[in-house]
C-alpha cells in the first residue's frame, strides 16, 4: 500500500472527524466476510489490504473501494479534498465520548505497535472495575492533541498474557512497553499503579514516548533477517493474498 496517502497532513487533519478503523486482515474470522464484501482481489479472495470510506451505517459507500487509497484517488491531496467534502455531508452533531481504541490482545498489541513504531500501553488487571477505570483515564489522554495516534492500547487480565515481556512478574496497572523489532516480545519502559493520578499517567506516557526507540525498517531487510531468526507469524485465518505488493494503477 502507498502509505503517502495516510501520512499526508491533509488526510490526517480530515481523519480527526472520521471514525478511522484499521481491522487486522486475517486476524478475525468474523470480520473477514465484511472486508471481503468491500473488496476482493482478482483471485476472488480477501487480500492483505482493503480500503473504503463509508457512511456511519457502514453500508453507504462514499468512494470507490479497493486495495488501497490509490484505487480511489489520484493523489493524497485529492483524497484529503474528498474527505473534506464528505464531512460537509456528515456534520458532527453528536458529542459522544470516544472510547479508548483497543487492540484485541497483547500478542497483536505488540505486533501492531512494532509495525507502527509506537509504544504499547497494556491495561493489566484481573478486576473488571479497575480495567474500566484505567481505560476511561487513558481514553481522555489518547484523544488529546498531543497523544492522538502516538500510542497503542490493549488489555490483559492474566499474568500469562504478559509472558512475552522482559522483566519480572508485573503487578496490576498500566504497563508501557517498547515492542521488539518483530513484535513478538517487548521491553517494559514504565508502569503505573491502578490508583495513579491523571497527571502521573500523562507523565508516564510522555516519558515512554520520549525514550522509546524509533526502529527504521526496510521491507526486504526486515523479512530476510526475520527468516534467519525463525520468526513465523501465525494468522488466525489463512492468508489468501497470493501476490501481496503488486502495484496497481488507479483507474480514475
Amino acid at each position: 500500500m502507498d502509505r503517502s496517502y495516510l501520512s499526508h497532513a491533509g488526510v490526517i487533519a480530515a481523519s480527526r472527524e472520521f471514525v478511522c478503523i484499521r481491522p487486522l486482515t486475517y486476524e478475525n474470522a468474523i470480520e473477514a466476510p465484511f472486508l471481503e464484501s468491500l473488496f476482493r482481489g482478482r483471485s476472488g479472495n480477501l487480500e492483505n489490504t482493503v480500503f473504503a470510506m463509508l457512511g456511519p451505517d457502514a453500508k453507504t459507500r462514499l468512494c470507490r473501494t479497493g486495495r488501497s487509497p490509490g484505487f480511489a484517488f489520484r493523489s493524497p491531496d485529492q483524497m484529503a479534498a474528498a474527505m473534506k467534502q464528505i464531512l460537509k455531508k456528515y456534520p458532527s452533531t453528536k458529542t459522544a465520548p470516544r472510547p479508548l481504541p483497543l487492540l484485541p490482545n497483547v500478542r497483536l498489541g505488540l505486533n501492531v505497535s512494532s509495525c507502527d513504531n509506537t509504544p504499547l500501553a497494556i491495561i493489566y488487571s484481573p478486576d473488571q472495575a479497575v480495567r474500566t477505570k484505567l481505560q476511561q483515564q487513558l481514553a481522555t489522554l489518547a484523544w488529546d492533541k498531543n497523544h492522538i495516534g502516538q500510542i497503542q492500547f490493549c488489555v490483559a487480565t492474566r499474568a500469562e498474557e504478559l509472558k512475552s515481556l522482559a522483566g519480572k512478574t508485573q503487578k496490576p496497572g498500566i504497563l508501557i512497553v517498547q515492542p521488539g523489532t518483530y513484535g513478538n516480545n517487548g521491553q517494559l519502559i514504565s508502569a503505573v499503579d491502578p490508583d495513579t493520578t491523571p497527571a502521573e499517567l500523562g507523565d508516564a506516557i510522555d516519558f515512554a514516548l520520549l525514550v522509546s526507540e524509533f526502529q527504521q525498517k526496510t521491507m526486504r531487510q526486515h523479512i530476510v533477517r526475520g527468516q534467519q531468526l525463525g520468526v513465523n507469524w501465525k494468522t488466525a485465518i489463512p492468508v489468501t493474498d497470493s501476490g501481496g505488493s503488486r502495484r496497481r494503477r488507479p483507474s480514475n
Binding site: 495516510l6 471514525v19 481491522p23 472486508l35 470510506m53 457512511g55 459522544a96 481504541p101 505486533n111
Partner: protein, 63 residues
C-alpha cells in the same frame, strides 16, 4: 504512582526534552470493526477504513 523503570530519570528527561507535541502526526485507528462501527453509529461520523495485515511473508513487525 509511577513505580517502574528509570523513574529517577523522569524529571531530568521531562525537563530536557519537549513533550511529544512535536511528534509526527498520525491517524488514530480503532483496530476492530466491532468497536469502530459502534463509535460511527453513536457519533454519526463517516468511516475511513483501511485493513492491513501486520506481517509480510510470515514475518511480523511490518505492515
Amino acid at each position: 504512582m509511577i513505580r517502574q523503570i528509570v523513574p529517577l530519570l523522569l524529571p531530568l528527561v521531562m525537563t530536557l526534552a519537549a513533550p511529544p507535541a512535536d511528534a509526527a502526526e498520525r491517524i488514530a485507528w480503532y483496530s476492530t470493526l466491532k468497536q469502530g462501527l459502534a463509535v460511527a453509529k453513536a457519533t454519526g461520523r463517516p468511516i475511513l477504513l483501511v485493513s492491513a495485515a501486520p506481517h509480510c511473508h510470515g514475518i511480523s513487525g511490518i505492515w
